[in-house]
């Protein structure tokens, strides 16, 4: 499947889906003008990928977001839900939630994700700049 790469802008994150390597990554800040329009294709691509056969390969997801606005939060939740459902169906999904050592807000969000999404393996990872 063709890799998906969306370069970062001043208000939207870099999205890199290397489907053949089973690696997905989100990095940067997220406050696009229209979160549904930005994340729509990303979620659709992920859905296509998850519908394909070959669910025995572990999926590695790396999220390193320093800020996301309210509408992005909603879209991210939909994305994580999709991943969690895949994990519930038997695929191994590992999500690394990166946060700056001093950033309690992002860390706490990661902790809430661990409570909300029990099927995938979520790990909190610290960036100590």
């Amino acid at each position: 499947m063709t890799p998906l790469h969306i370069p970062a802008t001043g208000s939207s994150p870099e999205i890199e889906f290397r489907f053949d390597d089973h690696e997905l990554s989100l990095r940067g800040e997220s406050f696009p003008e229209n979160a549904a329009a930005f994340y729509g294709p990303v979620i659709a691509a992920l859905r296509d990928f998850l519908d394909q056969p070959g669910r025995d390969q572990a999926l590695k997801v790396s999220v390193s977001l320093t800020y996301f606005n309210s509408s992005s939060t909603k879209m991210l939740f939909t994305l994580f839900d999709l991943l969690d459902q895949a994990a519930a169906s038997g695929r191994s999904v590992q999500l690394h939630w990166w946060h700056d050592v001093e950033d309690d807000t992002i860390r706490e969000f990661g902790e809430e994700l661990m409570v909300d999404f029990q099927n995938m393996d979520i790990q909190l990872c610290v960036i100590d700049a």
């Binding site: 208000s11 406050f31 329009a37 800020y67 606005n69 309210s70 939060t73 909603k74």
Partner: protein, 189 residues
Amino acid sequence: MDSRYGYDQYREFCELARKKNVIFYYVGYFSQNIVTAMAEAVKLRLEQSGTAGPVRRRLFSSFVEMAQNIIHYSADSLTPPEQDQHELRHGSVCIGVDAEGRHFLLCANPIAIDQAEALEVRLATLRAMTMDEIKASYRESLRSEVPDDSKGAGLGFLTVARDASEPLEFEFQGTEDAGTAMFFLKTTI
């Protein structure tokens, strides 16, 4: 008095802003590009002024939410109503420090009267909620279906309220145009 606008008059304005502890003020058209640039300016200003990390984050978040609300909902729009991308709408935003040393954000924009009525109900409900109720409502909203009239999640006000140290303050004022009201919103970090 000199009728030409000279440095003295400008200095009076700058002094007034300083005395009122206004550290950022913008009135004009809001677009995604403009908000992105302002967000960068606000971030830099807060870093330079040595504001504590958690306060900076909450201020930045509230600033983006309020400024993007203007892009999406202000009744004074340069772009046609059907256009839902690259919108350009009018409003104002201000960041200041109050007598207790807390940062506050104020924003104002015109809003259609029928939208104003619905908004007033929503904000009055929000104002009466405890912090625990706000957090619970936030979590519930995150999991629910997005309403049709929303360009985002409807989570915006809950996000701002959750980061505030007291209930959000708001006011609606009539304008010369019977179909439009001015909407003011204030949050204190």
